[in-house]
């Protein structure tokens, strides 16, 4: 008996969470996929009708805007947050005295929830009471910074706030990466008289490839599921100019009683995530086999 327990203990301990994940993650993904093939409106229905909801989805200009916004937002957010995070990390890595304090300051935005970030930036960017009004108050009457209320530029304010929130976190990731590079190699390079910038570009950064990948995965899933920031900052407006797939899905499911539409948009979102995650998992698994 004891032997049996010893052999099976790991499986027994893992079983509940395994079952929970099976039901609450994969089970509900399957349920959503099913519902996305039906004509569900207010309540879910289960008669399969084919890909009719997907046709509706891609005929909707609002969904178009949402997907475009995801592309703009995701790309700019990931690229800029990574560059900014890397630069900050390298600057902090110069053995400066107040590193601890500065690191904390840069990491602090991460401690705020997106709702707080969004609300604060909404006030800062509001032309009537934020930055624009302040600078104009100083006497620069022509100063204009009204991206928040410009339908073509409002999405960039979301990018701005998201970068402010996350670049400190990326910095911390990169800082850990920088510290983990073998100091012997760096010293050897310094002895050989190689300039510092070349040490970074040729030795340190290439050896941090796994960190880049982790940062990319973390940031991209933040971008795809981004919801609360948009709700707090622009409410999806002006018009629906800053809608993202997640806010689209919420509107369909909870405001408009159109569950089929919401389910189909959720499936598309999941596929976007898969196109990013699957190659990552594939490369991870393969490298283990080697």
């Amino acid at each position: 008996m004891t032997k049996w327990l010893q052999d099976h203990m790991p499986k027994l301990v893992l079983a509940p969470s395994f079952i929970a994940i099976l039901v609450f993650v994969y089970g509900f993904i399957a349920w959503t996929a099913w519902v996305s093939l039906t004509r569900s409106r207010l309540l879910p229905k289960y008669e399969v009708e084919g890909f009719f909801q997907y046709g509706r989805l891609f005929a909707s200009p609002r969904w178009d805007t949402a997907l475009n916004n995801l592309f703009i937002f995701g790309l700019l957010f990931i690229v800029v947050a990574m560059i900014l995070g890397l630069v900050l990390a390298i600057l902090l890595d110069q053995n400066i005295r107040t590193e601890g304090a500065i690191r904390t300051i840069y990491l602090y935005p991460m401690a705020l929830s997106m709702i707080v970030t969004g609300t604060a930036w909404k006030w800062i960017l509001n032309p009537g009471l934020g930055l624009q009004a302040t600078v104009r108050g100083w006497g620069f009457e022509d100063f204009t910074f009204d991206w928040l209320i410009d339908p073509d530029k409002a999405i960039y304010t979301v990018v701005l706030a998201a970068i402010w929130q996350s670049s400190g976190f990326v910095m911390a990731l990169f800082l850990a990466g920088l510290r983990s590079v073998d100091t012997e190699i760096i010293r050897a390079a310094q002895v050989d008289g190689i300039p510092t910038w070349r040490v970074y570009t040729a030795i340190i950064i290439p050896s941090m490839a796994p960190i880049f990948l982790s940062a990319f995965i973390v940031l991209s899933h933040l971008a795809i599921k981004s919801f609360d920031l948009v709700i707090a900052l622009t409410g999806g407006g002006p018009g629906y100019a800053t809608d993202l797939p997640a806010t689209y899905m919420y509107t369909m499911a909870f405001s408009r009683g159109d569950i089929g539409q919401a389910a189909s948009s959720a499936m598309i979102m999941m596929m976007v995530v898969f196109t990013i995650v699957v190659p990552y998992l594939y490369s991870e698994l393969r490298s283990k086999d080697d």
Binding site: L42, P61, P238, S255
Partner: protein, 414 residues
């Protein structure tokens, strides 16, 4: 001896039925959680308790009722619906189609609701000929509010046509006053849009386009003219209107930054809370054109098991439509009673105008449901229209493009 046995048996029966029947019970799901609204619901709770009922309150705040609807969906799916739910417009029929609503015709017929309610409002409370909901109030949506001082200082009368409104707005712009206080949120854009559609196109056009979704009306030249007027109105709002809440727009009219606001009569509550008097500090009038757009809150009755709950449902329906509740609730909320025989002496002049117009438009057949507030269409269709309206208002799209987009969006939402 025989009679003794009989009376003993009936005594036992009474005791038994008393044990099963604990008095009327009602669990009420609603989203009236803000100050004035919560006070209004408390009135109903007290009346319910005074009539021997047990009230279980289930307020769900947030999202303009979205959160409450999510809670409702969960309760209905688990087979445990609340007794009564704050629902309105076609959503009542949508839930009826799911087969979960109760029939309260017995109460409605005993109280003669059909004669007490305007016909088009009574129709919302009926599901396939049976009564399934009780109306609480009537909000008028097509109101235009104005700062009295600004209007008299600039020699402007309340506009009765959209041309007059445009001319007045030009005058105000020249005087450096924001003509129209507006908040750039989709539902506010839609509110302005429906009043313009009603005014520019007339009640019949409104009915065809925004209630019947007739493709011909949706793509007509009249609709182009409606979008043209919306484009003109866009020029009358201040540049900083995006995302502003409606009550902040009302405050702009109150403190003289802006002259007009187009908003339902809940705006009146803001004016009055700000210590202003109707007809003196602020003016109210229906937006230019004929007709009346209503937004009626109601309680839909869900099918429940058990005698005590069904008794609670009947009692609740009776009280909701009772004269006392209709008067007290609507005085608190700024709307007018749905039943037409309540004395309006205690109400202000705006509410009295609203009630008189409701009676006359009901007679003329121009008492129409507000599309922007979910009275005319299902959520998917009204949402699709609102998407187009707000996209047009917040960009430089042409009216022709907007009309085409509108027709496509409506077709796609079916």
């Amino acid at each position: 001896m025989k009679s003794y046995v009989l009376s003993a048996a009936s005594a036992v029966a009474i005791i038994a039925s008393n044990a099963a029947y604990a008095g009327p019970e009602a669990e009420v799901l609603h989203y009236w959680t803000s100050g004035g609204e919560a006070r209004s619901v408390a009135v109903l709770q007290e009346e319910f308790a005074a009539n021997g009922g047990t009230w279980t309150d289930m307020p769900v705040a947030g999202g303009g009722g979205d959160a409450a609807m999510t809670a409702l969906r969960a309760r209905v799916l688990s087979g445990n619906a609340p007794t009564a739910v704050q629902l309105k417009g076609p959503a009542i029929q949508e839930w009826y189609a799911e087969g979960v609503l109760a029939d309260i015709s017995a109460v409605a017929e005993a109280e003669g609701w059909a004669d007490l309610l305007p016909a088009s409002i009574a129709a919302h409370m009926q599901c396939d000929g049976t009564w399934c909901a009780a109306p609480v109030n009537v909000h008028r949506v097509d109101w235009i509010w104005a700062n009295a001082e600004i209007l008299s200082a600039n020699g402007i009368e309340m506009p009765t046509t959209w041309e007059e409104f445009n001319a007045a707005a030009e005058t105000l712009m020249a005087a450096g006053i924001i003509p129209l206080a507006h908040g750039g949120q989709a539902w506010q854009d839609a509110t302005v849009f429906e009043t313009v559609a009603l005014g520019v196109g007339g009640p019949e056009f409104y009915q065809q386009a925004l209630v019947n979704l007739d493709p011909e009306a949706l793509t007509s030249d009249t609709m182009v003219a409606v979008f043209d007027q919306m484009r003109i109105m866009r020029g009358f709002v201040d540049p900083n209107f995006s995302g502003r809440d409606w009550n902040l727009a009302t405050a702009m009219v109150m403190n003289g930054e802006a002259a007009f606001q187009i908003m339902g009569d809940w705006a009146k509550g803001e004016f009055i809370a700000g210590g202003q008097e109707p007809g003196v500090d602020f003016l109210c009038a229906s937006t230019p054109g004929d007709g009346y757009l209503y937004n009626v809150d109601s309680f839909a009755m869900f099918a429940v098991e058990g005698e005590d709950k069904q008794a609670g449902q009947a009692l609740l329906a009776e009280l909701v439509m009772g004269q006392n509740f209709q008067e007290v609730f609507n005085l608190n909320k700024g709307s007018i009673p749905a039943r037409t025989d309540v004395s309006l002496d205690a109400f202000d002049s705006c509410a009295q105008t609203s009630a008189a117009d409701m009676a006359s438009t009901s007679e003329a057949g121009t008492l129409l449901p507000s599309y922007a507030h979910g009275m005319a269409l299902f959520g998917a269709q009204s949402g699709a229209i609102t998407d187009v309206v707000t996209a047009h208002f917040n960009s430089d799209m042409t009216s022709q493009d907007a009309v085409q987009m509108l027709a496509d969006a409506v077709a796609n939402s079916m």
